[in-house]
């Protein structure tokens, strides 16, 4: 099975905010693999290093040590990002552009020919139900609509790998269902999805495998069913146990 994402001893350190303080190690020798066709859940408490890992994979941050690969190409090469789609957690796009203009801009970035770009834009706007608002500037959109524009731009290049950072954050139940449907459809088409989420119920439903990190270290990695069976409880309890959560004694 092809490895789509791989990190080898990935370490990221940030400079101290003020003098005298030690450097902050966001990732400590992370080794991770995601295979083709998987829906991979990336879990961890706040500050665990999930966002830093994604930032490295997307080229926003350079690793202090170790390497990361997308499609066996080092992430330092821009071409590594040719076949990926990224949906950030906080979706902000150029407010003065319309949805159509935004998608056309990203299509140009991917060097998609004009006719093909037009076809994809029409299909995507229909998929995310923004056809009625395609000519309106994004600044007039609601949060849910902006999230859907984000999803559309992540899919404009028919990505083989989709990286989703909290994709259902801020969405109503209908919106969440829509996102789950899209993820399922991509999986059926043989594409790979990496997403981080705090909605563990959703992760349990959608993901094939998960990795749980805490304090920059990989704590556990495996299929959802195996972890649930191993710990004889649901994913949320597994998560709490792995990160070392101790319930407080009742008074």
């Amino acid at each position: 099975m092809n490895t789509i994402i791989e990190t080898r001893n990935l370490t990221v350190e940030y400079k101290a905010q003020s003098r005298g303080q030690p450097k902050k190690r966001a990732l400590k020798g992370l080794n991770l693999k995601v295979h083709q066709g998987e829906v991979f859940g990336f879990l961890g408490p706040n500050g665990a290093g999930k966002t830093t890992t994604m930032n490295v994979l997307l080229g926003f941050v350079n690793p202090t040590a170790g390497d990361a690969f997308l499609f066996e190409v080092n992430v330092r090469e821009p071409i590594a990002r040719q076949r990926i789609g990224y949906l950030p957690e906080l979706t902000y796009y150029y407010k003065f552009l319309t949805a159509e203009e935004l998608l056309r801009f990203y299509a140009k970035v991917f060097r998609i020919p004009r006719a093909e770009a037009d076809r994809r834009i029409d299909a995507l706007l229909k998929l995310v139900e923004l056809e009625h608002a395609r000519k309106r500037p994004i600044k007039t959109y609601s949060k849910g609509m902006q999230q859907r524009v984000g999803l559309a731009q992540a899919l404009i290049n028919n990505p083989d790998l989709l990286i989703l950072d909290e994709p259902t954050s801020g969405l109503d139940p209908l919106g969440r269902m829509k996102v789950r449907e899209i993820i399922q459809r991509l999986k059926n088409e043989g594409r790979t999805v990496l997403f981080s989420s705090h909605e563990l119920g959703e992760v349990e439903t959608v993901c094939d495998r998960v990795a749980i990190i805490n304090e920059g270290e990989l704590k556990v990695e495996g299929s959802v069913s195996a972890l649930v069976e191993q710990h004889n409880t649901n994913l949320e309890q597994v998560f709490l146990k792995i990160v070392g959560y101790q319930p407080q004694e009742a008074a």
């Binding site: 930032n55 080229g59 906080l90 902000y92 150029y94």
Partner: protein
């Protein structure tokens, strides 16, 4: 280059969808037309002061457009987080810088064409003559100067986090160079050491933006500049701009961008 042009296109759209350009153009036009309607000693043929004023307003407006537009490009993208979906695509940071530069420069070029067309109409209405060569040379040299200013401002935008501080510093530097640039070596001679050496070093290092200010030639209807001089000045602008853009890339490529 497709990616660069695509990014540049977004910058141009931003300029004409924001109101800055229209406000500045209307202000220039209103002030010029108001001054033009004044009759000094009942003489309708007086033209130089109007040309002088109009050109000065064009220079100020063009600098405001250039610096204000450029100063907010990268900081605003970081603040609005639009840089992340962009850099998550197969786009290098150099392409982002070049795209932003070309977009700002092209936007300023479009603004200059509109301003100079207006200036040409005002000038022709008073003088019934049009000195096309020096006019075009003046516009081209001003556009070349704006390339240096935009590149400088882009460098500032990756060094300073806030667009406002970057814009202020750029205005001060550009204004200082335009006013003092050609006189710095005279100032240096009047200073005690080591200040004199420092000022002399600055004199030789700064981009001499005052070379591109040929308003006097246009106002006084002087003969056009030699094409060789124009070409050399353009080459100078090209080298300086490239230098500043490369410096911007060197600083920007090392900056971690955290979502």
């Amino acid at each position: 280059m497709n990616i660069v042009f695509a990014i540049a296109g977004v910058v141009i759209k931003e300029l004409y969808r924001r109101k800055d350009f229209y406000v500045l153009f209307v202000m220039t036009a209103v002030i010029t037309l108001a001054m033009g309607s004044v009759r000094f000693f009942n003489d309708p043929k007086i033209a130089l002061y109007l040309k002088d004023l109009c050109l000065l307003l064009i220079w100020i407006s063009a600098l405001v457009i250039a610096i204000a537009t450029t100063a907010r490009q990268i900081p605003a993208e970081r603040e609005a987080r639009t840089i992340f979906p962009l850099l998550a695509k197969p786009v290098t940071r150099w392409q982002v810088i070049l795209g932003k530069f070309l977009g700002c420069w092209a936007a300023c070029g479009i603004a200059l064409v509109v301003f100079y067309l207006f200036f040409g109409l005002v000038s022709a209405s008073r003088e019934q003559a049009w000195h096309a060569t020096i006019f075009l040379q003046g516009m081209w040299l001003q556009w070349s100067m704006l390339a240096i200013v935009i590149a400088l401002c882009l460098l500032g935008s990756v060094v300073f986090a806030a667009p406002s501080s970057n814009a202020t510093i750029c205005f001060v530097i550009v204004g200082g160079i335009l006013v003092l640039g050609r006189h710095l070596h005279k100032l240096a001679m009047q200073q005690p050491e080591p200040l004199g050496s420092i000022v002399t070093t600055i004199y030789f290092l700064i981009p001499h933006l005052e070379w591109f200010d040929v308003k006097d030639f246009i106002v006084y209807n002087n003969d056009s500049l030699r094409f060789a001089d124009c070409a050399l000045a353009s080459l100078y602008a090209g080298f300086y701009t490239t230098f500043l853009l490369v410096a911007t890339w060197i600083v920007f490529r090392r900056k971690p961008l955290n979502t």
